[in-house]
Symmetry: C2
Subunit: 202 residues, 2 copies
Amino acid sequence: MTSTATTDDLGLRDRNNRERRDALIAAAYALFAERGFAASSMDDIAARAGLSRRTAFRYFASKDDLVFPEQAARQAQFEALLVPREGESAFETVRRACLALGRHYQDDRERQLAQFRVIQSEPWLVGRELAIDRALEAAIEHAFMAAERETPRARRRARVRASAITGALRATVREWLEGGASTDLVRLGRETFAELEAGFAG
Amino acid sequence: MTSTATTDDLGLRDRNNRERRDALIAAAYALFAERGFAASSMDDIAARAGLSRRTAFRYFASKDDLVFPEQAARQAQFEALLVPREGESAFETVRRACLALGRHYQDDRERQLAQFRVIQSEPWLVGRELAIDRALEAAIEHAFMAAERETPRARRRARVRASAITGALRATVREWLEGGASTDLVRLGRETFAELEAGFAG
DNA sequence: AGCAAAATGGCACTCGGTGTCAAAAAGAAT
DNA sequence: ATTCTTTTTGACACCGAGTGCCATTTTGCT
């Protein structure tokens, strides 16, 4: 290496990797917007990104994965946020992590909307999304359990709470997206948590 | 028609329809058990059922549908059960319907176990199953809303409850299946509802 | 420049899913 | 039983997703 160290911490290879990945995502979403998910073949997507079909499949194992490109990263990020802080109850930890995630959604508004449209258009993508939500739910359950001793009763309670929270938040995000993502998602989330805190029976 | 009226309320055509449908399901599950879902092609399944590939696809629009053959019927049945009875609270209606559904699962023990194994083997089938659960959830939410006036607050509460119940029951069924479906699912369900009734905060 | 490792892309193949259409089976009518 | 109509069937051809294979190119390093 001579003196190419300007802003590149990551080599040319990694940079290209990222660029092509991004190109694929951009191409995919452009085509989805133009003609819909079903009518956009991997051939087209790859071509628009300037890659071969075969190579495109090396970046994304399936066409579906192209719809949820940052799923793994989001999940990891969320789990990192679920680490409890000093003097925080489990519920507070979960709320903080969820609201932070909500903030990210808000910052990613445009793509979230596009993603929402795509997902609504193909029923089985709804299933994929639910599976993703399910992973978040599992993480939340885990966070609740971290605070308690492992008993069947405690586990069930943690599960019910995690499921209720996930369900309520799913509804909240849906409301937000259906309204064009024009309101404040974090505020909506706060309200939802307030409702949950206020109680279930009534 | 001469005198073939023995037990046939439905004509030969419908009878054959049902037979072939059943043959396909049986063939599919036999092959899934033998070699797994992925390794069982529609060609094989159709052949074992004594049908052509093309015809098999007329009975089941996709290979996935073959995994959840009675989904539509179950959903309809469940919704029928969700009609409130005299002097019953919404919660009671929901519990009754869910427990009845649980009883059906129990009577269908063998297939439920097989289905569970297949679903666990292919991640995206989990998504499909979740989507099915989601339909049940929507029905439950609807049942809760039927008892109240339509306000955003009421809807959110109904949604949270429906989601919590669905989540808790999913966990319950999972527990049951993981234990080989050898225990009493209805009893487990009753316990889960008791927990839910007892309260959320604590 | 030169070399090893990794990424690329072309090819051929499998499998899920669909449109089309001629042949076969079912039901109705005589 | 025979004919006529309506469904159902199954063969064929086709598309797109996804994969294994391998020759070629690109990249990182010396």
